[in-house]
Subunit: 420 residues, 2 copies
């Protein structure tokens, strides 16, 4: 018995058959004695189709009207899912973002949730109804429809979980949970029973993108326990919460954890040579990039030689043309001797909440790469992550070697990462 | 300078090219110095497609969820039209039924408008914006989305016209206006410059269905002047208002008007023979039919013979199976000797506001039919209409003959219908 918030994405709702499957899944949860709020996205590729319609009628898009357009996608989903559940004999009601009390700011197409007024949600739950709520959308205090941007439905689910103090927020997806590494690449990859919010954030931003980072941050802030699981079977997925060791006796292992190995093929490296060592130079470079919405990932500045530095950074492959264009005029004004660009690279990372207290972890990763004679182009470390840029063609060998080095293919995750 | 409310149906908005055409049309009206509110339906056959989706996920339909589903159709339209207009450089805003202040009762899928709160509409108009409003939908006072049923967008346009005291409500459609008879059947048919609400009501219910009767009634009650016109050209269409002679000098002609000839091929005749002449018999028969939502049209009861009557009535062709099913058990309990059913009939009618004061009108109609040797099966008359049931195969000849008899192919409508 408890309050369960569920979220189903568009691929789980693509067509009448899948909608009925989701309906059965929702009913199961209700029959198990829970109060259920289910958050849904637009069916299949509805959102893309609507955006295309929009571009066909207008070259310059009005963000306000785009929200008016896109919010219909989720409204179709909630109506159909509620119809299916009602047809199976259960009490149910669908609610738009506005009806569910999801109040946002006025930033159309990228609105942020300000607060949730759970009055209507609670009323319907107390009347014994299953509640189906539109994800991705909200309303401003002057009655304007907004959407939340990428990953919006996850954020809706997390925010409702926080407002209702739900026992768990189940994120249904087409994978079974979060893995020690990509199971499509490394067959030995194992599903993790539990990861922390911080680990999940790193895993998500590294391309193991089951959940949008914003929704994980939101869950962390409001302490919402997530359960990432498959919509195709009933196996337990991966729990995401603050502390991996909440309820067991292996506190002693806390400091030796590597949770997973992530990789990102969609990256490229830019090298800037002989950058003058003057205050404000880095600021000038990276401000120019951020102004054009270029998301720079790793930044490494080596030791100074003759009053000049070499700076390397990575960005998403699709942004590289734009990066070079922006850098060109800067090269002269700042006085950089050479710019290089390497697209044939990938990023391999290990993630683990206990990493910072165990300096041997990074060394073990480098060892795993050395054993495979893989050259490291760049290194970057954070409290819970070590990332290396390597040649793209060596990615699979690198991930396999690191995965094995940390025994991720064998040990129970609660005890994993002990390095000799 | 004035307030103009426009309504465009789904066929005018079917695809990006047509949406841009409508956008230009709306802008023209605005550039002419008017404050413009444009009401739109769902694009093309969107509503049918949504209904089909609904039936695919559930056998029994929840009306409340059907409204949630269908109301998305108009929301897509308003967003796209607003985008197109904005892209052409004009200030515009789209409003859902809820945002436009369209308050309805709680009868899902067939809601009635209770009142319109024009505050938001007026505010946007006063700020110089073109307002695009979703037809067919409204909201209850407890924030539930409703739809208005068939012809709902017309009703929305008329209701907004009433609330804003608009100068005219333009109904754009794929015909050029209201004709003296069906121009596809009778090439001599002429477009009418003006018809009265009552004539329009009769013409609409007789199958010349440019406007849903409910919206004409609504316009009559609130004295909203309608202008039925083509969305494909700029010619004047047909004005619908209370009095045909508002501003000219032909009052003397008022009593001799036949406005048009309508026909309905979708009808069938039921004959009940030897119905006992007891109080409550007719009541029993027609209550049984109305309980099953059978819309009975003409009812004729002839002279009594031997304490028994023959009763004939007509109903829509598609309802006839159900009518016979309902009548079967009644035949025995009431004591009817025989039931006949004739599907091979049609209804031909003349409509005109001045008819009641001119008894020669019906006679002239019968004369036109007699000249073509067309047999009349049933006759029914009202204040502004005479209808005859004839054999279906003779419909075209009948309409042509009547149309000619009343000089509808020749005379200006203000002077038409003078019978020798």
């Amino acid at each position: 018995m408890g309050i369960v918030v569920q979220k189903f994405g568009g691929s789980s709702l693509d067509g009448p058959k899948k909608i009925k499957n989701v309906a059965r899944r929702v009913i199961e949860c209700s029959k198990a004695g829970n109060q259920v709020v289910t958050v849904v996205s637009a069916l299949g590729d509805t959102t893309d189709k609507l955006i295309e319609l929009g571009t066909q009628v207008a070259e310059c898009q009005s963000r306000r009207e785009m929200d008016m357009l896109l919010s219909t996608g989720e409204q179709v989903s909630i109506a159909l899912l509620a119809m299916a559940i009602k047809d199976m004999g259960y009490e149910v009601i669908s609610l738009t973002g506005a009806q569910a009390g999801i109040l946002t700011d006025k930033t159309h197409t990228k609105a942020k949730i300000i607060e949730i007024n759970p009055e209507r949600l609670s009323k319907e739950l107390d009347e014994g109804k299953i509640v189906i709520t539109a994800g991705f959308q909200g309303i401003t205090n002057d009655n304007e429809i907004t959407t939340l941007g990428r990953g919006g439905s996850d954020i809706t689910a997390v925010a409702i979980s926080a407002a209702l103090r739900a026992d768990v927020c189940e994120i249904f997806t087409d994978v079974e949970g979060v893995y020690t590494t990509d199971p499509r690449m490394i067959p030995e990859a194992r599903k993790l029973a539990v990861v922390t919010y911080d680990e999940m954030l790193e895993l998500a931003s590294l391309g193991a993108g089951v959940l949008q980072p914003r929704s994980v941050e939101f869950a962390k802030i409001h302490n919402v326990i997530l359960h990432v699981r498959s919509s195709f079977n009933h196996r337990d997925g991966t729990i995401v919460r603050e502390d991996r060791y909440m309820d067991n006796n292996c506190q002693m292992e806390k400091d030796v954890v590597v949770t997973g190995v992530a990789y990102d093929l969609n990256t490229a490296r830019i090298g800037l040579f002989d950058v003058p060592d003057r205050p404000g130079v880095a600021h000038g470079i990276f401000t120019a990039l951020s102004r054009e919405n270029i998301n720079v990932d790793m930044i490494v500045q080596g030791a100074m030689r003759n009053g000049r530095n070499d700076i390397s950074f990575t960005a998403a492959s699709e942004d590289i043309e734009k990066v070079l264009e922006i850098m060109k005029p800067l090269t002269e004004t700042i006085g950089i001797s050479k710019i290089t660009c390497d697209r044939d690279v990938s990023k391999v990372s290990i993630v683990g909440a206990g990493m910072i207290t165990n300096p041997g972890v990074a060394a073990a990763m480098f060892e795993a790469l050395a054993e495979e004679e893989i050259n490291i182009h760049m290194i970057s470390t954070s409290e819970i992550k070590v990332s290396c840029i390597i040649n793209k063609g060596e990615t699979e060998r690198a991930v396999a070697s690191i995965h094995k080095k940390f025994n991720l293919d064998k040990t129970d995750q609660y005890f994993l990462g002990r390095i000799k």
